[in-house]
């Protein structure tokens, strides 16, 4: 029944976040030790529970156990999908944390970064572990608040403007979510996700109108957070204005947790997957995928280009999820469903790694040359060979060139689309892959090759930044191994099973 490991994913980052301002009073350097230490401990804990899953999947703080099988307390749920997301969050967070320590020399007011970073981490872990709707909302807000402040961290004109846009859109998104949660509470008189699922399936099976109304509000909220195309306006600004390690966190983790994870949890585990919703999500995913990459081709600011690619790659993931939901609703075979969800989740972690790496290399270029305009770069390969190699690996991975991880996940999604009978979506996936390759050839060509720009001096890239980038570049290749069933059985299959047996969630949690 009890699994106290789960509470540490929320407790430790909060503790670190509020310990750092106090330690700052006595010893200035304490924060640079606490940051990697705590994030490393969290990474180890996440690895531990993924490789050696504990018997019980939930933890109830405060000891408010269910009464007559009706949950009364706050449940933290660490099932397959949550454990998988925890590993993703904490590994990217650790790599960004060690990268951030030298990178922050570019900024004043460094001490605030550490607290905000940990608050963001605590919020992300909380979203993934939340077992009831309202906690989901609260932790989404914790993450969002920290993200708003981190986007504006440089306090320049453009950064504050980006943060303001992000806040208005993000505030609206969470309010839509809250409205959806209020509607759900009205219909079911409970907040626990498993309980809501039971009540909806038993008592409200015929009540499609109200359920669909609620779903649309929840989806609107999540769509803004996941930056699907009609709601994407804030993302390129916010992700390109933030400090690079924060961009890597935002693009690599935050839009996945607040967007994709919440979609998976709500629309597969809580609501039964329906034909209508799968259509909406797949079409929005397809549009984001195509429009994102077309917008990216025209971008000349390096980080803005990467941000548009985040929209595009999230489109792949969402299209995969939409197809999977469509197959579930259409009563397809479990193998076909498993393939789509495996593809989508696999692409999600791959994107976290290579997009994180791309933002970190962009940060490294910015650190050395103080410039992000592709037109003013050139010939950097000679000065920064390591950054070049890392960025090359990530570019090939995002473009889907075979030995790198991106190829296998895109391939899985496209094969799943063909198997599901969605030939147009499969063709679109291939086309977007080619356009992505084109745009990253442009990035490599303008940044690292070509005629070297005359420059006076280049700052040397610090060791910790290099270490973080090398680790991610290696991960880009190593994660291809996840196509083998033995590796998949540890990392991906528990998460996919949670989605496959959507009613299993209910049985285990109640």
């Amino acid at each position: 029944m009890e699994n106290p490991v789960l509470i540490f994913f929320i407790f430790l980052p909060f503790l670190a976040a509020f310990l750092i301002p106090l330690l700052n009073l006595f010893w200035d350097q304490a924060k640079t030790i606490v940051l990697p230490l705590v994030s490393f401990v969290l990474l180890l804990l996440a690895l531990l529970i993924v490789i050696n899953p504990p018997q019980s999947t939930q933890y109830i703080p405060g000891g408010w156990y269910p009464v007559d099988n009706i949950p009364v307390g706050i449940h933290l749920v660490g099932d397959g999908l949550s454990r998988f997301m925890l590993l993703l969050i904490n590994s990217i967070a650790f790599l960004c944390a060690i990268y951030a320590i030298p990178y922050l020399r570019l900024f004043t007011g460094q001490k605030y970064f550490y607290t905000l970073f940990f608050l963001q981490l605590a919020g992300l872990n909380g979203v993934v572990l939340a077992g009831d709707m309202f906690n989901l909302f609260v932790f989404m807000e914790v993450t969002a608040k920290a993200s708003y402040a981190l986007v504006a961290f440089g306090v320049r004109k453009t950064e504050i403007e980006a943060s303001f846009k992000y806040q208005v859109m993000g505030g609206l998104a969470t309010l839509f979510m809250l409205f959806g949660i209020a509607m759900l509470y009205w219909m079911t008189s409970t907040l626990n996700m498993a309980d809501i699922s039971v009540v909806l399936r038993n008592d409200h099976a015929g009540n499609t109108g109200a359920i669909r109304f609620t779903q649309l509000f929840l989806l609107a909220g999540v769509a803004i957070k996941a930056a699907m195309i009609p709601f994407h306006a804030w993302l390129p600004d916010a992700h390109s204005s933030a400090p690079s390690p924060v961009s890597a966190m935002l693009s690599g983790v935050v839009i996945k947790v607040l967007g994709v994870y919440v979609i998976l949890r709500l629309f597969i585990n809580v609501f039964a997957p329906s034909e209508f919703l799968s259509m909406v999500i797949a079409v929005l995913g397809g549009i984001s995928m195509t429009a994102g990459v077309i917008l990216a081709i025209g971008a000349w600011n390096l980080k803005r280009l990467l941000a548009y690619h985040s929209i595009s790659q999230m489109g792949y993931v969402l299209m995969g999820i939409g197809i999977g939901m469509g197959v579930v609703a259409g009563g397809g075979s479990p193998e076909a469903v498993a393939l789509t969800f495996t593809g989508a989740l696999f692409h999600m972690i791959n994107h976290a790694v290579f997009k994180g790496l791309l933002f970190l290399t962009a940060g490294s270029i910015e650190y050395s040359t103080d410039n992000l305009d592709l037109k003013k770069m050139g010939g950097l390969a000679r000065y920064m060979p390591l950054t070049m190699v890392a960025s090359f690996a990530a570019s090939m991975a995002i473009a889907g060139i075979p030995p790198f991880n991106g190829f296998f996940s895109k391939f899985a999604i496209i094969v799943a689309a063909i198997q599901g009978g969605y030939h147009f979506r499969a063709a679109l996936g291939l086309l977007v892959g080619i356009l992505t390759l084109a745009s990253f050839v442009k990035f490599q060509r303008y940044a690292f090759f070509g005629r070297p720009m005359p420059r006076l001096s280049l700052k040397h890239t610090p060791l910790l930044m290099k270490a973080s980038m090398i680790t991610m570049a290696v991960l880009c290749v190593v994660m291809s191994l996840l196509i083998f069933p033995e590796a998949r059985a540890i990392f991906l299959d528990p998460a996919v099973n949670t989605l496959l047996e959507s009613t299993d969630y209910v049985i285990k949690q109640l």
Binding site: E141, T158, I160, E161, Q167, L172, L175, F179, A182, D237
Partner: protein
């Protein structure tokens, strides 16, 4: 039912304000209106005609049949705390934007295109 419809109209009013206003402060106010409409709806969901406040050890509450649902009220309190953070943060940003750009008009604050 009428009250719920009024709440929804308030929500739509806030959304309309959010879409048409050009002044940053008005955008923040519109966001607050949307917030308030949802809080009102949550309170209405938990309300029971003639219900008492759920302070359980009082005699009259224990003997009385109808007690209002305390859960939406705690939810609203939490949401108000969150809304406080939202508003203070967004207003801080508004002050900073004004210092940097010298205007509250969002059409003149357009260094970022996209």
């Amino acid at each position: 039912m009428m009250l719920y419809v009024l709440c929804f109209i308030l929500l739509l009013t806030g959304l309309y304000g959010l879409l048409i206003s050009r002044n940053i402060i008005k955008i923040v106010i519109s966001l607050t209106i949307v917030e308030i409409s949802i809080f009102l709806m949550l309170i209405l969901i938990g309300y029971i005609e003639g219900g008492l406040a759920p302070v359980i050890f009082q005699e009259e509450v224990l003997s009385h049949q109808a007690v209002v649902d305390p859960l939406p009220q705690t939810m609203v309190l939490t949401a108000i705390v969150i809304a406080l953070a939202t508003n203070s943060m967004i207003l801080t940003m508004a002050i900073r934007l004004y210092k940097k750009y010298g205007t509250f008009d969002i059409q003149e604050i357009n260094e970022l295109k996209g």
